[in-house]
């Protein structure tokens, strides 16, 4: 149970801060003495948190499905011709800044949640795809050969041998992707999506550092919470599939 303690504590802290930000008013008054209004009130922090999280979760789910499916396809005998192409896309795609994806998506999809969702999915897909390829390619060839030679069907080899062995690496890819996307989702505020980036943008526009801080703290805390959740999941995974290496 101790594994789950850090994410539980962090989520409690995140929730408490989102719900009770006004309590910290004196602190922010000290940061920004020249403004009357130092707590962002246009939208509740809980609502922004919820919306932000939803964007990240949806993009992570869609991205994971697409990336793992793509990775599996590119490592099957029938799709192996595409392997160099797919792994190149995975590498080149990451050099593309997310703001550029947004700029390209807005003319097509308009303002709001849709373009940021597209950007998050595309951008989040790449680390997962890269890790899926690395994980599946990293499975010892003799293990695969033995599995086939002993009479497993290709699907059984994939589900019982390759995915459990590659899963840890794929999971690490999802972790990277989600962490990056929590930060990237905040940019969505510039094109009208409601996220924890809202107070940051508003603060920058009005010269109100207190707003910027509130948004930034919550985004940072959300990233930490989710990361510690992944840490816990990875430990549980190790116990389940790699018990000899788990401490």
């Amino acid at each position: 149970m101790r594994i789950w303690l850090p994410p539980a504590l962090l989520s409690a802290l995140l929730y408490a801060l989102s719900a009770g930000m006004p309590v910290l008013e004196p602190l922010f008054q000290w940061v920004q003495p020249d403004k009357q209004n130092v707590i962002y009130e246009r939208e509740s922090f809980l609502f922004l948190l919820q919306n932000h999280l939803m964007l990240v979760v949806i993009s992570a789910l869609v991205g994971t499905l697409a990336a793992v499916a793509g990775g599996i396809f590119a490592t099957r005998p029938s799709g192996r011709d595409f392997l160099p192409l797919v792994s190149q896309i995975a590498s080149i795609g990451q050099t593309f800044p997310p703001v550029a994806v947004l700029a390209l998506a807005v003319p097509v999809l308009g303002f709001g949640e849709a373009p940021i969702l597209v950007a998050l999915i595309l951008y989040g897909l790449l680390p997962i795809l890269r890790n899926t390829l690395a994980g599946l390619e990293g499975v010892d060839a003799t293990v695969r050969q033995a599995a086939l030679g002993m009479g497993m069907s290709p699907v059984q080899v994939l589900l019982q041998v390759e995915l459990p062995l590659a899963g840890r690496v794929i999971l690490a890819g999802i972790r990277t992707s989600v962490t990056i996307n929590i930060a990237t989702a905040a940019i969505g505020s510039t094109i009208g999506a409601r996220t924890l980036g809202d107070p940051v943008i508003a603060g920058l526009v009005n010269g109100n550092t207190a707003y910027v801080l509130q948004g930034a703290i919550l985004i940072g805390l959300l990233a930490l919470t989710v990361d510690s959740l992944f840490e816990a999941v990875e430990r549980v995974w190790d116990r389940r599939f790699l018990p000899q290496t788990a401490s």
Binding site: T142, Q145, A146, A147, G149, M150, G151, M152, Q244
Partner: protein
Amino acid sequence: MIELKNVTRRFGDAVAVDRINLTVETGEVCVLVGSSGCGKSTTLRMINRLLPHSEGEILVDGKDVTAMNPEQLRLNMGYVIQGTGLFPHWTVARNIAMVPQLLKWPRERIDERVHELLTLLDLDPAAHASKYPQQLSGGQAQRVGVARALAANPNILLMDEPFGALDAITRENLQQEMLRIQTQLRKTTVFVTHDIDEALRLATRIAVMDRGRIVQHDTPENILRRPASDFVENLIGKQDRGLKLMSLRTVRDLMETYPQPRQPEPGTDGLKEEDSLRVALSIMLWQNWNQVPVFSADGEETGTITRERIIQEGA
């Protein structure tokens, strides 16, 4: 029984296996031997259809393998490879249980079988069943590999340089183990190796391969006595052919048997009936003995053997 008829395998333009004909009788150990790249592993993998053959026919118990479902075919063929290919995320017990599980045996029967196989391969079930492959030594891991191949009691055993990566002592132990298991189980075995000594030791018949062809297919003794070509002669080594012949025969062949087995005096040194003549001669030379008592497996003194006899008739 496995029959290969005019089997050819091409990789692009290169011919890896060139119109080979080979029959492996039921219960015999056929060893494919040759230098690397001679097509011996390719031949083995065509038998369980890990590689398709380009031409010719492969029959297992009279049935064409291409007509069978590849998974069904392989489930009835134990497969042991170099480097074991054990599943690192499964325990030893689950690794061995793999094929029975695919065949949907009931739980108790699988557990019983795993226990039986670990014991057969001289591994303590209590100590090893719940270990992971990384926690085993190379020799233990390959024993588990053999146990896994035998799990569902297949008729056929395919072994692709199974002991190639092991040190000399472990390899010899496992070869001995294999001979012992083979006398019990009599599996139709195709065994690939590049080590001619291993081939001479384990084979009922050896197929020597060179550049995709079988250059000689015969018993170990005939291969040594009448090598078909210079290639075979080089492979077996001209110089110590005599000693190699002696290692094919056992003390039992040349000993003088007593009419009645005797109870040996405690502390008497001697040879065992199943020791090879080569070992016998070596011990006699080292100890400077001319005549040595011979003991049976259950410790009775059953006869004697002399140095003269070994030298005159051994090879």
